[in-house]
């Protein structure tokens, strides 16, 4: 659903909001508007994100931010731990801070470190945690740098090799993201390379694929993406 359609829905809900149920529905719409923001267009990279909340609202977060001037494409996926409205409120806090920090950060690790420092006080008081995978694609060189604050690692596929690679990285959750966690990894994106991330809710299936990092896992992953394969 495009942002303008969601905006229309949101305005409709605002006019009719009279009960708690309406407010939850309005919050749900706001979250959809934020998550389903237009993905920035970039010739060298194609990104798609989607969220299927198990509850009406979730702490799921993903974002694509293209700094066209500097040829940098930021990719984020994270999960604020918790349920419903509280998790979604915190997710908005993470999203807003991330978006500001992309303007001032040179590397994924510096961004996540600053994010942690900024959120530390509030997240600690609220006893809240969040995971975050942060990747930075250099459009000119094809290099991909990333770091993770406790988010399950993505799977990296070079199509011609017909194999999966687990970009494993042990990190720590935000709020516990410490100096020891700041690691920069680099990989090179050749043409026809896929990188898949998952939110925490898909852990069960994700872990299965990761324990079957062979043709079987590869084929199942592709079939889930495109049933015609």
């Amino acid at each position: 659903m495009r942002t303008n359609e969601l905006q229309h829905l949101f305005e409709k809900y605002l006019e009719s909001t009279e009960s708690t149920a309406d407010e939850v529905q309005a919050a749900e719409t706001i979250q959809k508007i934020l998550l389903d923001d237009d993905v920035p267009v970039c010739d060298e990279l194609s990104c798609i994100g989607m969220s299927l909340p198990a509850y009406r609202l979730s702490g799921d977060y993903y974002d694509f931010i293209y700094d066209e001037k500097n040829g940098r494409y930021w990719i984020f996926i994270g999960d604020v731990m918790g349920k419903g409205i509280p998790a979604s409120l915190l997710m908005v806090m993470v999203r807003s801070t991330v978006r500001v920090l992309t303007r001032y950060s040179e590397t994924p690790s510096s961004l996540v470190e600053n994010l942690n420092n900024i959120l530390l006080k509030d997240m600690s008081r609220l006893r809240a945690f969040s995971t975050l995978f942060c990747g930075l694609f250099d459009v000119d060189s094809g290099q991909f740098m990333y770091t993770s604050a406790g988010h399950p690692s993505p799977i990296f596929i070079k199509k011609m090799r017909m194999s999966l690679l687990d970009l494993k990285r042990k990190g720590r959750l935000l709020v516990y993201y410490g100096i020891g966690s700041i690691v920069i990894f680099q990989s090179h994106f050749a043409p026809v390379t896929y990188l898949f991330y998952v939110p925490m809710g898909f852990l069960k299936q994700w872990m299965w694929i990761k324990t079957n990092m062979d043709m079987r896992g590869y084929n199942i992953l592709l079939r889930n993406i495109d049933p015609s394969i």
Binding site: G82, F129, K170, G171, R172, S181, P199
Partner: protein, 103 residues
């Protein structure tokens, strides 16, 4: 999803809580209730019977452990299935629990 939580070896000083099933946003409250009820004893969560834990499960249990640690309480997690242990390791949760319980 179903989850059963049983308290074993109940004593004044320590208990073992056997958790069986799937720990997620709809079931984690059962675990939290037991942690809260036995907050004055050392609690060992036996995870050998769990098949899945989601981020809400991890987060809320971690939050309880932090709150107990602030008041001198202690919660440990034992017998975690390998693939779940890998997730907890990847998230840094294992290290965090170790630090919380060690301080």
């Amino acid at each position: 999803m179903s989850l059963s939580v049983e308290v074993e070896n109940n004593s004044a000083e320590s208990i073992v809580v056997k958790v069986v099933g799937e720990v997620d946003f709809s079931t984690v409250d059962k675990v939290l209730e037991v942690i809260d009820e036995y907050r004055h004893t050392a609690i060992s969560l036996d995870f050998s019977g769990i098949g899945f834990i989601d981020s809400t499960g991890v987060g809320l249990i971690l939050r309880s452990v932090m709150e107990l640690a602030d008041t001198g309480g202690k919660v440990t997690i034992t017998s975690v299935p390998q693939y779940i242990q890998e997730v907890l390791d990847e998230m840094g949760v294992s290290d965090i629990l170790y630090e919380l319980n060690g301080r």
